[in-house]
Symmetry: C2
Subunit: 291 residues, 2 copies
Amino acid sequence: MFSLDSFGLIREAELPLPPLVSTWIICIVKFVDEPLYQRIADDLRRRIARGDLPVGAALPSESQLCRQWSASRGPVRQALIALRAEGLIGGGRGRPPVVRTSRVPQPFETLLSFSHWAHSLGRTPGQRTLEIARRPARQEVADALAIDEGDPVVDLVRLRLLDGRPTMIERTTFVESVGRLLLDVAFDPDSSSIYAYLAERGVDLSVARHVFDAVAADPADASLLEVPEGAPLLRERRRAGSASGEPYEYSDDRYRPDIVTFTIENAEQAHPSVARAWRPIPADDNQTHPK
Amino acid sequence: MFSLDSFGLIREAELPLPPLVSTWIICIVKFVDEPLYQRIADDLRRRIARGDLPVGAALPSESQLCRQWSASRGPVRQALIALRAEGLIGGGRGRPPVVRTSRVPQPFETLLSFSHWAHSLGRTPGQRTLEIARRPARQEVADALAIDEGDPVVDLVRLRLLDGRPTMIERTTFVESVGRLLLDVAFDPDSSSIYAYLAERGVDLSVARHVFDAVAADPADASLLEVPEGAPLLRERRRAGSASGEPYEYSDDRYRPDIVTFTIENAEQAHPSVARAWRPIPADDNQTHPK
DNA sequence: CGAGGCTACTTGTCATGACAAGTGCTCCCT
DNA sequence: AGGGAGCACTTGTCATGACAAGTAGCCTCG
């Protein structure tokens, strides 16, 4: 993990290096088994997130960071490159790196979990479970989950609330091995986040695909979401699974478009960021087109 | 741009270096003013895109690339890191880098330009301009474009077609400095891509923000898109501008959800990718929820 | 014949040194 | 006072060398 080069601090300070001291330092170094450039990047991330380095402020120059960490320019630059790739800092040749934004959204969990998203907004999520059942898979769901029609799956239908207002209907189907965990008597779907519960039990949901379109509210949707029948709803169909691509769940979620929107921010030469947004006041003035 | 180190090739081949040869090499080097690591990355990208390096194949090892380019490990590693960040290659310690996917989507232009998107799918885009006018900005548009209410703007309303089928209504407002270019008699909005036209004239649209929700078709929407009044439409409101954040256009686009959907692919520890998708056959079996 | 170790090769991390090129400031001269 | 040259400082790019750590294949030994 460490090499003789790790003694840069000592070398720079030009101290003699008796064997006793060297073994002591080895102990220290061995405890920290994260690469140096990651520690530097993490430290800078922390300082930015804490507001220690506010937006617009200049980061310490590379040479300052080198002295501060008693490192060479290599790891320091590696850390800065990582931060730049995350969009946290900008700047360029001749100009010191500058903090661009204090908070880089972590869209994955937020986009996957309604509860997580609501909490990140400071709103109160709620839910009413309408149905949880084990039944054979229909054709459409079987295709999405890469299983055979008729294989057992677990269906879960929930009405999701935001600050008590009906916001979304979630019709999720889990493969049997995952859904079984939800049938456990110890699990209360009305009180806890499903994804947090599943993560605790070792289900690693790490890739997801969301497809968005619009549908008209059918009678069931309409009465649950308290909108007129035929009202436009924003639909998200989601397939999520393990890192290796094995599907675990398929979901058909329908949002009231006057409460929730989805946003994509997009730039040339940068990765897009996606987010779910909350519209605090019913905006019926936007329902008709400009003219 | 170059240093004496650039003579690595000569040094490695252990050739004598008369002054005449050195000046000749300087000329060569000066012509190529792209950094070396970018040239290496571009070359590998090309070889992957061309299928010369198929998916699953192992890239040349770092030392091979070093010899091939007569470069040190630095630029080679920098190139590989860039490809890794783009998701093109995988692999890890002890294992050679492996091609993961041959095509990384370039979502920005595709998401911004309907024409570009249609062409990338091999479909034929069409358009019928319904209105192009210079008028004072309404309040809502003025807010989005960061100008004052009543400032002159250029409105453009187009019906977009995909293979001749009505697909989307686009109501775009440009700031006057950009919209003026569209009022030029030389510009025919029915035949060319607006974004290609603007890019040629030096308008750099490089950041965009897309907000998605659902609306009901009003009478105008309905007759143009050939759907019943009140039918659900997928709405995208887009604000695009320069890299420095200056807004250039604001648009309210309404899609037939049976033809176009939007997709977000999302993974832990990776940047999301977004795409517009085309649904070839009207899928009315999906318009009603499962049960 | 199988299991284990050994070795060659790979990538990951880091130090050091050098030069190019952009930025911003000072300071001098006109 | 204003403009320009020069300088200090910054980041960008690259070379070189070293060691750590993981992988895969060979090869010997039991």
